[in-house]
Every structure is written in structure tokens, then in C-alpha cells.
């Protein structure tokens, strides 16, 4: 399991396009992907869950990836959050 805080640097926060890209990418991995903000945890494979977190630019979330491909999953998902994809 990889569990680390990530700061959202994506220009538009994690809304709309970045959120849907995040979900599409997360679904490609076998690992479980979870996002946590302010004590609320949602599945990183759920667009609605991510939307309800209301992640603005500059906020911090805890990204957790658990599973066979967790390293790869964490690395590429972090890029979306940090706006570097």
C-alpha cells in the first residue's frame, strides 16, 4: 500500500476534466485507489465521489493505492493531481 498526501496543483482543481481523466486512468489499474480529504474518503474510481470532495487548487488530498500495480498507479495518478500529465 502506498499512502501519501498530494497537493492539488492542477489549474482547475480536481473538477470536471481532470476528475474524469483521473477516474479513467484509475480504472486501468488493478489496485484499489482511494482519495481522502478532510477526513472523508472516496473511491478514486468514482467520478461522483471525487466531485463531492470539492478539491480546489491548492488543497491537499491523501492518495492511497493498494494492489499489485500500486507503484505505477500512484505515480501516474499523482501526476494528474499535480497537473503534470
Amino acid at each position: 500500500m502506498i499512502k501519501k498526501p498530494v497537493k492539488i496543483l492542477n489549474e482547475n482543481g480536481l473538477h470536471a476534466l481532470p476528475a474524469s481523466r483521473f477516474v479513467k486512468l484509475a480504472e486501468k489499474f488493478i489496485s484499489d485507489v482511494m482519495l481522502e480529504k478532510d477526513g472523508v474518503e472516496v473511491s478514486g474510481k468514482s467520478i461522483m465521489g471525487i466531485l463531492t470532495l470539492a478539491c480546489e487548487k491548492g488543497s491537499t488530498v491523501i492518495l492511497t493505492c493498494t494492489g499489485k500495480d500500486e507503484k505505477e498507479a500512484f505515480r501516474s495518478l499523482r501526476k494528474i493531481l499535480e497537473g503534470q500529465d
Binding site: E11, N12, G13, H15, A16, L17, S20, V23, E27, V42, S43, K45, S46, I47, M48, G49, L51, T52, A54, E56
Partner: protein, 583 residues
């Protein structure tokens, strides 16, 4: 007889309609709670799966239709809806709760969706709040499928209806039947809402954003909707009905008489070719441009890209739209204008007291080079089609062109370095729409390939009149001698520098102005697609020497009224054939 009442809103789609009000309310879905016997629980989750699949097929088919009718860029909102529908976390939660609580799928699904919608509507973020409408749009669709109900009654609107609604959801707007719907009026929405875009694409007159509409209107009432002025007239007086019917009837007769001109070349009687092109705002409008016989897109406003989504469009998203438009219009030219809005539209925390004189258009672009360069790259990449030109709005001094040029060259260098193709010969022009640019036009002309006169803003800035302000809007007049003097000066400066000069404001479509502008030497006129046949008709009736004579005589007047009287008189004398299209 109840008194006539005029309800004001935002004019989003042109045209006039008179008809009976059809109040459209999104059908409420009544969800009941029913226990499910343990042996049937598996069937219940399977029934839920089937309703999701059915909904998905429906959304895909709406998307397909929209892609075709309006354009892929617009239909993207359905991607988001399909993602919400296929959300695994929600599907799992619903199934789990069906099994645990032993209750029917409708009830559980409704509960789950409600929880998500409530969380989002509590958000302070306006984008997230708007997504609540999407969630319910999808949610109700699933629920109706579960309950075996039919969808929106908007397809069953009786003939000759004026649809009145609080709001029309995106997927509902997509299935409006233009055969029965004469016009649309809503309480919510604005110029860039889905309803507005759909109405324009279908050429249905529409007025949106009418405050308190639903309390003021009743079903089956007789109303007139004026999509040009943005008003809905309740209990119209006999006089008003008569006047509108007359306008409408004359409009139809004229439209019919003018329709053969769509296909005719835009040449004067003495065979001088003048480019007649179209101003468009949305990609899909290229269809209207072609239908009415435009020989190019004289102005593609790119603001729509920035207003209909959260955040700014990426380079890729912009490129897709510009490229598709260039391909559709080939070999005719497409002039793409860069960002022309206030800074408040993209930097939401920014506000100012006097936006028309503020941080807008090229001023924003120059201050935000990353933002600007992204748009330049997208336009340059689309220029491989060889028919793209680029145009910069609201230039008010010489340094701005120099700075734009510098950035433009830098972007070109970057593309070359990355071996990305673009048109090395791409024409680079500016809007001349401030008095300072007009007065400096002989210098500015040295730096560009063309001018396009933005007559609406030029009039507004020259006369110092905000036409949106009712108290003073009568002072706004394109035929003001001061405005005409500047237009003449711009054309002359352009021609002295051997560049072409177009005009893309409302003046370009005014039959009274066309002979004058031609006489002044204008090379291109760009207008709303619907005005093109009339402009061609005028053009084909006139000759250059006589227009020049008219233009020479037009400079000596003191008031707009004197100018217009003179033009009417001269046109009647020289080209009596076009009297009928001049009001």
C-alpha cells in the same frame, strides 16, 4: 381584456414567433418503497443493471445525434453524464443496499443519488453546484427506465407552441422538435447555456433569463416572442399583434424572394467581387454560413470555448474546434479572432468597475502569455489547412501590435523547433474598433495583413455610448458622421498600405450602408449568416462608380439623420431595385 405586459430577458436566438404557451415542467418521478422477497433480490439487482444499460444506450444515441447536428465539442457534456451513470462506486452501493435492506431498486437508487446531489449542492463552488443538474438529469432518466415511464414530454409538445420552462436540461434541449416548437422562453440560462446553443443551431427564436417568468405566465396563453429584442409579450394588444404579424409576413415574403441569392456570386452589377462572409460563434453555425452562401467565415468568435466549460479549454480542445471548422469551410477562408472578453470571465476572482474600458480582449492576452500562447498554438496548428487567418481584438495602440507580433513569432519558432506544421503564410490581422486604432491606422497598417472594422464597438467607443443602457441607447447610431469619417479613414489607410479591409459589425448587413461602404472601398463584409442573401441582393444591384459618388457626397453631414436621409434618397434615385429591402 387583460393588459399587455412585456417580459424582458436575454436575446439568445433571433426570430419572431407568435403562439400558445406550453408550460414545460420536467416530469417529477414519484419513487415508492417496496420490500423485495429474498428470492427475488438477485432479479432486482439485474433489473437495475438493465436500466443502467438502457439509459446508457439512450445517452449514446442522443450524443450521436448532437455530434451530427451541433458538433462534438458541444456534445461532450454527455460524456460526463455517461461517466456519472457508469460510476462503479454508486452502482456497487446501490446493489449492496438492495441486498441488505431488501428494498426495490428505484427507492435505493433515488436515496443514493439524493445523497450525492445534496453534498454537491452544499458546495460553495458554482461549477459543482451546476453539476447537480447533470446528476438529476441522469438520475431521473434511470428512475424512469426502472419504472417503465416514458421520458421527457418535450418531444410531445403540441404544434405551434412556445415552450416556457424554468429551465431545460441539456439532454432535454437536445431532443426539442423544431417542427412543433416555435420559440423557447426560460427563466434560467444565458447566452452560452446549452439551451441557447441548441436554439441557435436549430434556428428557433429564444429568450432566456426572464426573471419571474413562471409566476407571470399561464398555459395556453397567446404570446409573442421577439428573439431579436429579447422580449416575451403577454396579452399582446391588437395593434402589437398586427404589427408583428406584418413584420413576420413581410419577413417571410422577403426571405422567399431572397433565397435564390444564396447561391449567386457576390458581385456588383459591374462585376466587382466583394467577399461576403459570416460571423459565427459556435462551430455548428458553419452549416448556416454555407446554407446562406457565405464565402468564408469573416469572424469566428472563440469566446464560446471559454464560457461553456470550467476552466480554460486546453490547446487540444481548441485545436479540434478550429481544425474542424477550417476543414468544413475549405477552400473558403476562416478568420479566427483571439479571446475577446473581460478578464473576469477567466479569472473568476477578478472584478472591475468599468469592464468595457478595462482589462479585456488583447489586454488580457498580452498580460497572460501562457494563456495567449496556448490559443496561438491551437490556431497555428489548424492553419495547416491553408485557409486560416488570425485576428486580434481591441488593439488601441501601436505597441500592442509589436508585442503581439513578438509573441506570435516566438510561438511559430517553438512550433518549428518541435517540427509541428503550420501555414508559414498565415495572414495576421487586427480588429479596428477603437477610435485610437482608427486614427493610427496608417501606422498600424504597416504591421498587419488586413484590417477588420468592428463597427459596433467602434461606434460605442467613438460616441461614448453604451447601447445596453436604455436611457441613452438612442444615441447609438452607426450612421453618426464621426463614425463614418473614421471608417473612411481606416479603409484609406489600409489601401495605401496595400492591405485589404473588411467590416464585421452590424453595419455590414445594413442595406442602407452597403452602397456607402462599397463606395468607400471596403473589400469584405462579414455578417450574421441569415443576412447574407439580402446583402448579396443589394450588392448585385449596385455599381462601383455610383457607390463612389454616394460615398463622396456622404461626408458633408452633421447628424446621423441627415446621413440616412441622404442615403435613402440617393439609393432610391440610383438603385430603385433595392428600395424594398430598406426599411
Amino acid at each position: 381584456m387583460p393588459r399587455e405586459r412585456i417580459l424582458k430577458g436575454i436575446a439568445v436566438s433571433q426570430g419572431i414567433a407568435r403562439g400558445k404557451v406550453f408550460i414545460y415542467e420536467t416530469k417529477k418521478v414519484k419513487v415508492f418503497q417496496a420490500p423485495i422477497l429474498p428470492v427475488y433480490l438477485k432479479d432486482e439487482t439485474e433489473r437495475f443493471d438493465r436500466s443502467l444499460e438502457k439509459t446508457k444506450q439512450e445517452l449514446l444515441s442522443i450524443q450521436k445525434r448532437l455530434n451530427y447536428e451541433i458538433g462534438e465539442d458541444f456534445a461532450q457534456f454527455l460524456d460526463a453524464q455517461i461517466m456519472m451513470l457508469s460510476d462503479k462506486a454508486i452502482i456497487q452501493e446501490v446493489k449492496k443496499r438492495i441486498l441488505e435492506e431488501k428494498l426495490n431498486a428505484e427507492y435505493i437508487y433515488n436515496e443514493v443519488i439524493k445523497e450525492y446531489a445534496e453534498k454537491l449542492s452544499g458546495s460553495t463552488d458554482s461549477y459543482l453546484k451546476e453539476r447537480v443538474a447533470d446528476i438529476w438529469d441522469v438520475g431521473f432518466r434511470v428512475l424512469r427506465n426502472l419504472l417503465g415511464l416514458t421520458h421527457s414530454s418535450i418531444v410531445e409538445v403540441p404544434a405551434d407552441s412556445i415552450v416556457v420552462a424554468h429551465d431545460i436540461s441539456p439532454s432535454e434541449a437536445a431532443i426539442i422538435n423544431p417542427q412543433n416548437v416555435l420559440a423557447i422562453a426560460t427563466e434560467a440560462g444565458g447566452r452560452t447555456s446549452h439551451t441557447a446553443i441548441t436554439a441557435r443551431a436549430l434556428e428557433i427564436p429564444a429568450v432566456l433569463g426572464i426573471k419571474g417568468l413562471m409566476e407571470k405566465i399561464e398555459n395556453a396563453e397567446d404570446v409573442i416572442l421577439d428573439g431579436d429584442r429579447g422580449i416575451l409579450i403577454k396579452n399582446p394588444s391588437a395593434g402589437k399583434i398586427h404589427r408583428y404579424e406584418k413584420v413576420k409576413k413581410e419577413g417571410l415574403i422577403l426571405e422567399k424572394a431572397l433565397s435564390p441569392f444564396c447561391e449567386l456570386p457576390s458581385r456588383t452589377r459591374d462585376d466587382r467581387h466583394i467577399d461576403i462572409s459570416a460571423n459565427i460563434e459556435f462551430f455548428s453555425e458553419y452549416i448556416h454560413a454555407k446554407k446562406y452562401g457565405a464565402e468564408g467565415i469573416g469572424l469566428f468568435r472563440t469566446e464560446f470555448l471559454y464560457l461553456t466549460r470550467r476552466g480554460n479549454p486546453t490547446e487540444e480542445e481548441q485545436y479540434r474546434v478550429y481544425n474542424a471548422l477550417a476543414i468544413k469551410m475549405k477552400p473558403c477562408p476562416v478568420i479566427i479572432r483571439t479571446y475577446d472578453l473581460g478578464g473576469d470571465k477567466i479569472f473568476s476572482d477578478y472584478q472591475e468597475a468599468n469592464p468595457f474600458l478595462g482589462w479585456r480582449a488583447i489586454r488580457v492576452s498580452l498580460d497572460e502569455p501562457d494563456f495567449f500562447k496556448m490559443q496561438l498554438r491551437a490556431i497555428l496548428r489548424a492553419s495547416v489547412n491553408k485557409n486560416v487567418k488570425i485576428m486580434f481584438p481591441m488593439i488601441s495602440n501601436y505597441e500592442e501590435i509589436k508585442r503581439v507580433n513578438l509573441i506570435f513569432d516566438k510561438v511559430k519558432d517553438e512550433l518549428r523547433a518541435k517540427k509541428i506544421n503550420f501555414d508559414e503564410e498565415i495572414q495576421f490581422g487586427i480588429m479596428v474598433e477603437t477610435p485610437s486604432a482608427a486614427l493610427l491606422s496608417s501606422h498600424l497598417a504597416q504591421q498587419v495583413d488586413f484590417f477588420s472594422i468592428g463597427s459596433n464597438d467602434l461606434t460605442q467607443y467613438t460616441l461614448g455610448v453604451d447601447r445596453g443602457n436604455e436611457k441613452i441607447s438612442q444615441l447609438f447610431d452607426h450612421f453618426h458622421p464621426a463614425v463614418l469619417t473614421l471608417i473612411k479613414q481606416i479603409i484609406t489607410s489600409g489601401h495605401e498600405a496595400h492591405i485589404w479591409v473588411g467590416l464585421c459589425g452590424e453595419l455590414a448587413a445594413d442595406p442602407l450602408a452597403i452602397p456607402l461602404l462599397i463606395g468607400m472601398g471596403i473589400d469584405e463584409l462579414s455578417m450574421n449568416p441569415g443576412s447574407i442573401p439580402r446583402a448579396k441582393m443589394v450588392l448585385r444591384a449596385i455599381t462601383i462608380p455610383e457607390c463612389e459618388e454616394i460615398a463622396e457626397g456622404a461626408v458633408r453631414f452633421r447628424t446621423p439623420l441627415e446621413v440616412k436621409r441622404y442615403l435613402r434618397r440617393m439609393i432610391h434615385k440610383k438603385f430603385p431595385g433595392i428600395d424594398e429591402v430598406i426599411k
